[in-house]
């Protein structure tokens, strides 16, 4: 996982633009790259072209591989989507805990974030599946989802925290001065503005999680990578199998990163956050 340090950057010179840069921002395509030969276009359409051309030019083994791996795609997406859902839930509460003024809650949330972010995801997967296996008795997929949710929940917590802290204090003060309760102010004023800021970084987390989901192939989950490995080990076509797998991951992540980029662009245009 590539992760930068979470920071809420409110540009002091340009207070109209609030950006938080929580993950590897390079995932989002650079806006100016409008030309036909942009890095994104070359990578994306190159990968798509290969995925179409290879099976046409040499159906054995490429067409076989392509028909063998789709179940893996379903598993990859299931694990990713379910994990991101729980990670968001955990992240929201842990993020609120991180900005809580109650010392006890704050400490628990902060320890959670520090501990989880300090342990590699692969180690966490092994820990929940093997080390806690006798205790939890989880099968591969639920163990994978549990580990990924807990791990990504910690990163989500930092996004939520940074997002909420990026909202100027005056917003809460204005809401309180109008007689709103703290929770109404959170619901009506702070959270809606936070969501607008954190959607792009959350999109990035989704892409990172999609890639990291390949790690669960180790826990007997038949995801995309594992299906590729299964094909390779029976056919001994290692090069061809892993080429197809790599291309499929590439197409998916590039597609979603473009989607996140477009979303960010739209959010920037309407209803800016101070």
């Amino acid at each position: 996982m590539m992760k930068g340090s979470p920071l809420s950057g409110r540009d002091s010179k340009n207070p109209n633009q609030t950006t938080i840069n929580v993950t590897d921002g390079t995932l989002i395509p650079i806006k100016d790259e409008g030309s036909l030969l942009s890095a994104w276009n070359i990578s994306f359409f190159g990968a798509v072209a290969l995925l179409v051309a290879l099976p046409l030019l040499s159906p054995d083994p490429y067409l076989h591989i392509l028909s063998f791996v789709p179940d893996g795609l379903v598993a990859t997406f299931s694990v990713t989507l379910i994990s991101i859902f729980f990670a968001l839930l955990i992240g929201l509460f842990a993020g609120l805990g991180r900005i809580s003024q109650k010392l006890f809650i704050n400490r628990i949330a902060t320890v959670y974030v520090e501990v989880i972010r300090g342990i590699p995801l692969l180690v966490q997967l092994f820990y929940i599946y093997y080390a806690l296996g006798p205790l939890l008795r989880l099968k591969g997929p639920p163990a994978a989802i549990l580990a990924m949710s807990i791990c990504y929940g910690a990163y989500m917590a930092e996004i939520f925290r940074a997002g909420m802290q990026a909202i100027p204090r005056g917003q809460m003060e204005a809401a309180l001065a109008l007689g709103m309760s703290r929770s109404t102010a959170m619901r009506k004023i702070i959270i809606p503005q936070t969501i607008r800021i954190i959607l792009p970084p959350i999109g990035n987390e989704f892409i990172a999680l999609l890639k990291d989901s390949s790690l669960v192939s180790i826990l007997a989950v038949s995801d995309l990578l594992r299906r590729g490995r299964e094909y390779a080990s029976t056919s001994f076509r290692y090069f061809e199998s892993y080429t197809v797998i790599a291309l499929i991951y590439l197409v998916m992540t590039l597609f979603f990163s473009r989607l996140v980029g477009m979303m960010e662009e739209r959010l920037r245009h309407r209803g800016k956050v101070h």
Partner: protein, 243 residues
């Protein structure tokens, strides 16, 4: 006239910095009181203590006889009756102008949407921005944003309005449009506590000027006396700087 805001011996420190060193001040119903003073004199802290955006270390503040500083006070109810306008406007950027104004009446006062919108339109007419109800805050100039902020505060039908340097963040050509709205409000009999250095507004609308320095009230007087014949040396020095 009855006392509306009563501040008794307010003391407040931020760490080792003493922002208020025992300030007492009374504002009567319908009175417009202007607080001036150098930066760091505690004037904003005093204002923000009135609706408890700052908690006093000691002392007491009463609004219409109700204690603000009592930890058991129903502060939300008190805040409904105390409108506040900020230096940085603090409009809600994710809501249109009309939604900015109607949000609190709907969520706090439980007004119906239609009622709230009718009232918001009247207030927008009053501040001269009827054509902006569907605009986003970012599309407005600073002066327009501040007038919307005033309308938003008035939508709660407050009995007193607090203004915290309402024109300090504005370009010079926009100051007048905001002061005009404030002057009109003063002439309608609104009780107002205003932190500002706008001398034009002071002469046009203020009943009293309070000069604060280093967390204390140094001098208070009606505007004419204050500007022409200040008693204290510190006041004179300060006036030399700003006039």
């Amino acid at each position: 006239m009855e006392k509306y805001i009563e501040i008794r011996n307010a003391v407040k420190s931020f760490g080792s910095v003493k922002a208020l060193r025992g300030v007492s001040l009374t504002v009567k119903k319908g009175e417009v009181v202007l607080v001036i003073g150098p930066s760091g004199s505690g004037k904003s802290t005093l204002l923000r203590s009135v609706n408890r955006l700052e908690h006093l270390d000691s002392g007491e503040i009463l609004i219409d006889g109700e204690s603000v500083t009592d930890p058991n006070a129903d502060i939300r109810h008190i805040r409904e009756e105390v409108g506040m306008v900020f230096q940085s406007f603090n409009l809600f950027p994710h809501l249109t102008v009309i939604d900015n104004i109607t949000l609190a009446p709907i969520t706090v006062l439980k007004k119906t949407k239609d009622e709230a919108i009718d009232q918001a339109r009247n207030l927008l007419a009053k501040v001269g921005l009827s054509d902006k109800e569907k605009a986003w805050p970012e599309q407005l100039s600073g002066g327009q944003q501040q007038r919307v902020a005033i309308a938003r505060a008035l939508a709660m039908n407050p009995k007193v309005m607090l203004f915290d340097e309402p024109t300090s963040a504005l370009d010079p050509e926009m100051i007048k449009e905001v002061l005009d709205v404030m002057t009109e409000l003063a002439h309608e009999g609104m009780t107002m506590l205003v932190v500002s250095h706008e001398m034009g507004f002071a002469r046009a609308a203020a009943n009293r000027i309070i000069f604060m320095d280093a967390g204390q009230i140094v001098e208070e007087a009606p505007p004419e006396t204050f500007f022409t014949s200040p008693r204290e040396e510190r006041t004179r020095k300060f006036l030399e700087h700003i006039l």
